[in-house]
Subunit: 229 residues, 2 copies
Amino acid sequence: MTQTESAAKTGSRTDIREENERRILAAAEQVFAERGFGGATMQLIADKAGLPKANLHYYLSSKEVLYRRVVERIFNIWLEAADSFETSATPERALSRYIARKMQMSRDYRFGSKVWANEVMQGAPIIQDYLEVTLRDWTETRIAVIRRWIDAGLIRPVEPRWLLYMIWATTQHYADFAHQIETLNGGHPLSDAQWQDATETVCGIILRGIGLEPPAPEAAGRDRAEGAP
Amino acid sequence: MTQTESAAKTGSRTDIREENERRILAAAEQVFAERGFGGATMQLIADKAGLPKANLHYYLSSKEVLYRRVVERIFNIWLEAADSFETSATPERALSRYIARKMQMSRDYRFGSKVWANEVMQGAPIIQDYLEVTLRDWTETRIAVIRRWIDAGLIRPVEPRWLLYMIWATTQHYADFAHQIETLNGGHPLSDAQWQDATETVCGIILRGIGLEPPAPEAAGRDRAEGAP
DNA sequence: ATCATTCTTGACTGATTGGTCAACTCTGGT
DNA sequence: ACCAGAGTTGACCAATCAGTCAAGAATGAT
């Protein structure tokens, strides 16, 4: 039916495949986020993607494969953001940029964050190897950096682990508990100004908490998506 | 009824009912925490409780009723802990006690915390009224208290909402993401000393972050369950 | 000992699930 | 015009699900 012409300008086959996979993955991310792996149904994902259920299995062989694809995509996005923790910058700059970036991610990828939370809460049956290798390596290098800051007397002596967990927890909270936050906000999503204020507050408390003076908010550009890679 | 006599260790019927309901609720809390509502099965809960599945339906009429009971129990536990935010105390004392109590709760009720997180992530289909009434009221009163602290110049001027969310996020993270934390801890659960250090670090960063000097760790008694109400 | 009541449980049911399949349409190349 | 291969889809299947039920076991009161 009209399915084919909904693709981009060029009607190439690979475009159809890419477009449909994109739609399926987007729908799946949302449904997995809201219901967890076990609670999600292929029918629900199909409906949300606007495709018949059999079509899902044509592109993604099984529910588990689909879930794995979703989780891997999220982990890659997380990895990109993790780069904004510049190990060569000053503590103020490295931490404030990282926190701001993670807050922005909670706003832009709230479904992905929830899927990640769900996966970890269930004991990470799918992504345990990511945790043990990639995440652990990333964490260890940042811990080393923070420890060097401490040794240089740049920040107060705190166990770097707890500091990192605090940043993760606080920023991801705005995605995972978005519904609770909205309810306590009178049922309305946070406005642009509220997001910016929350980001500055979180950044300010954490930086001051370890003995730093937070830098002036960076250009205030809230919709300046992100800088170069 | 004949309930006049105080419930002793007699093998009375009500004892059997209470004991079985307790076992079912405990098993259900764990399974709902690990799989979410949709992913949990009555068979799994029955196996974990050591009872035949039909027995579950004898005590609790449906899966949804069972889930509701679990969630309500968790909310009540949360409410008790919320009392440790003493509105009459100094900011240092009110906040440090509240944070310590919430950290302890993350350790003692990790399943409950996960069920709560799951429920909120799914849009709080069951407990929306709790969010809108009880939680909102509690939050508003604490926000008012924090605002008074600010007006009195006791703490730095920060939006109280973001401060509360930060405390919730950070403390609950230790329950909801316990698996990730364990993995990054070499596969071992946090030791008593690590829990205490994490608590003090979280407390220290947040208090210093709003311009307070954290009080000396309270008696360091890590297994001194909790004081009176 | 009798008996009403509570508790136990294997066997069952209708509904829903993930996944399959064969018949079908559409597309670009020739 | 024709065709090979990509994309589409309703109908179907075995497995699993929440929930039911009736027959029986256990218990306290008399």
